[in-house]
Symmetry: C2
Subunit: 547 residues, 2 copies
Amino acid sequence: MDTAKLISKARETRDSSIARVEPPLAPLPASLPKNVTRIPDEYLTARELEITALDAPELLEAIRDKVYSSEDVTRAFLRRAAIAQKLNYGPRLTSYIQTNCITELLPERAIERAKYLDSLPHPIGPLHGLPISIKEHHGMRGCSTNGGYVALIEREPDGDLSLNDVLWDAGAVFYARTTQPQAVMHLETSTNIYGVTLNPWNTDLSPGGSSGGESALVAMRGSVLGIGGDIGGSIRCPAANTGIYGFKPTPGRICSTGTIVATSGQEGVIATKGPMSTSRSGLDLFMEAYLSSEPWTSEDTIAPIPWRPVTLPPKLKIAILWSDDIVTPHPPVTRALREVSSALQAAGHELVDWKPEAHDECWAITHSLYYEDGAACVEQLLSRGGEALLPLTEWLIKDNGNVRRRTAEEVCALKVQRNAYRQRYNKLWRSTGSGSEDSRMVDAILSPTGPGAAPPHGNAKYWGYTSQWNLLEYPGAVFPVTTVDQRLDVRDTGYVPKNAQDRFNYELYEPGRYVDAPVGLQIVTRKWEDEKCLKILEVVEKAMGRK
Amino acid sequence: MDTAKLISKARETRDSSIARVEPPLAPLPASLPKNVTRIPDEYLTARELEITALDAPELLEAIRDKVYSSEDVTRAFLRRAAIAQKLNYGPRLTSYIQTNCITELLPERAIERAKYLDSLPHPIGPLHGLPISIKEHHGMRGCSTNGGYVALIEREPDGDLSLNDVLWDAGAVFYARTTQPQAVMHLETSTNIYGVTLNPWNTDLSPGGSSGGESALVAMRGSVLGIGGDIGGSIRCPAANTGIYGFKPTPGRICSTGTIVATSGQEGVIATKGPMSTSRSGLDLFMEAYLSSEPWTSEDTIAPIPWRPVTLPPKLKIAILWSDDIVTPHPPVTRALREVSSALQAAGHELVDWKPEAHDECWAITHSLYYEDGAACVEQLLSRGGEALLPLTEWLIKDNGNVRRRTAEEVCALKVQRNAYRQRYNKLWRSTGSGSEDSRMVDAILSPTGPGAAPPHGNAKYWGYTSQWNLLEYPGAVFPVTTVDQRLDVRDTGYVPKNAQDRFNYELYEPGRYVDAPVGLQIVTRKWEDEKCLKILEVVEKAMGRK
């Protein structure tokens, strides 16, 4: 295999797709600020800015009411996505010169689709005319999908893709495919094919991963609704890092058929797809639109559970996870927890502290189960493409101490341990109802999404605040809370780290490294309580004074 | 470990529990017919016969209306269960002299429970006062559970048991625990602890397995509702073999927490519990009562799906699986398929032939996935108890060609193959809607439950007609259709077997070996269509002229 040639081919596919966006973009400046979120203001038309300022339900309404055509909307987002892509170049970022959030735009087919939808007398479904961006390894009908592996660059074009096909039938316009990291298993986003994806709020920082192409694009408002996937934090971490909304539902609610992963058949921890959006309403919209199609009638891997109405008690009982007792969150995260708690308290809700139960054990089980084969499948695929392990891949499968080749018995023993841990945690949650005045269980946990805001590139090595909920299969919704404040979020110079992971995280923090970095938090509910999770997010945001 | 002493202890527990049933039973005759189903008529009082002739919903009604007390009902079933147990002895059956369907009766606690329930002013739940029998390895609060393994005979008494606890809260009376085979993985029922369980319709035949204690007990009307479990046919095969009703739901609808299995952590094929009953109404009753408790609020391993109402079209489209193209069913099974088809046709339903797709591949995947560790877990447990592998265990884990120690990669590859097979079969089912006049998919498959009626002991070596639906996770409901007819069900002397499995099955058949053997068939629907499965069973039975 000619590795360099394949990589060129993939980049050529990307670059030519961006070059075909019309009208062509004016050249971007040679030098860019670290925070590039406002750059589109200078390059888009007033009308394009007006369109791309709207959130998903507003766009749908505007298309329905013929304020804009789907074509208008699609063209605006293609242009804005192209800018988001180009912004990630820049002379300052020499080592990232080839990086970006897009693997491919789909201008011709998107415009054709939009025109077709515009030609119809009535909306064909709840997403009629809405441009939706998709993480590359999820696949795209008629396109080739490489999943971030050089070895797969010339793969046959995709056929049926269960989730995409549902969105299509609901009226979606597919126009952008986004980057993921090597092995789709970093909480950052870089591959040997496309390089590093940058955080638009501060290009020195990671937009997170593995759905970091989506998070960067959505944060740039180059997309209002994107589809990511999550097995250890891959929707929630990038959402938090870029100040957007993201939702990881309970596995078994959204179909994954067609997605490229190296670890097929490894089912110790189950990945799930989910929405990433500029707004909370985008998450609701996606879940309702998808599940209203009754996707289980065609895909029996998902449970036949419609998007159920939820009635919440007027007074919620929210538990705060201040720390998981392994890695203490950085000051801006703790401040965000405090701010949201205060708002909740002021709104009359009951707050309790969440006592984490053996999150270190959960981390060990989770990371051990990611690769039942010691990640041989990943190494083989990388080696077939003639490409090197990137540092975070090296860390994940070699250095973090949990991944190794195991016998079938050892894998089974891990699953027994996992099942027992799940049961224990479920009991822990249920026990929050005993002994309290009204015998009411905790409704949700307010949890950090990570041990800090978006990290400087190459440092996302603690997944515990998200992967915890993957092993337990609890839904998690991430929402933006604040940004790092140079004055308020000073380093705690007296802090004594508890262990090596904690020390690594502690030493990483210096407010000056995190200028403009968003901080997002996470609402976690019990398994299957997906509807409740998003409903509580609404209550929390209302308590915060948002709409 | 003193194997013999442990076995004696377990048998002593059983025998003394039966001896404590009051009033004591008159001695049974020294010589019994092969068909022992009518023997209770000679040993029970008229009132006991009246009670035990009722099905589950009738008993509940009678208890609610104070026609009988729960204590009356419980005492009657304890006595009838004790007879069912003793009948399985007999001088003719010297090699089975210690065999039976009961591992333990619970006279004192059952009577105490019944009296308590009788003392209450109102029913506490939908099963108020109903005696329910439970397969031993499911466990029983406060009792020791050995799961058929000598090594576990002195195990600590059980605590929480999710399903039992729900039934308890619904008002059930636990009074009988029933046998299962070694490793809980034969489609017959024998262990080194309790010996062989016999089929009450013809004691030369097996009642099936692994829930063969339940099937023998229910067929004797020593129970009207029992709980079995199924990973390859273990509810459905024994139900068909003994002329009772049995239902294997989709995995994920009934909680298994607390059940003893050697293969914990092996999740290639998921077992599920389910009801076995004297009546179809018993199956409905169990599913409704269990799911109306919303068990998912305490056990998050099960999907939050209530027992949903189903509306069927007036004209069903039923596919008949005449043969799986591997093993041709014996003549009485084919006749049963013909009889039910004719009844369905006469009632105006549409019939089509089901074309089996690669059931041989499914068999190989399924049997390979039963033991990811090559069954080392089973051998270790047997060896710890100092007990020998019984012939059907030997066949299952050594001789059937699929079980061997595999690497983690090989196990993953099997799961990939399984997932692809599931998807293929799902497409096959969906394709039944294309090209037909009304584009309607097949509603259900009418399938054999096994390649013949209940086999002579030691011959249940083809599981394909049930295990097929385990791998696919399709629900299956078994109902009695006919019994082997010496005149109609002659051997097809011209038949040329297709392969070794087919030859083995063909050579087994001689009508004279199957006197009085019941033949049951199976209604199979798509994954998650549990409600539809039982509703279609109702339609089928009505077409057969039943109520």
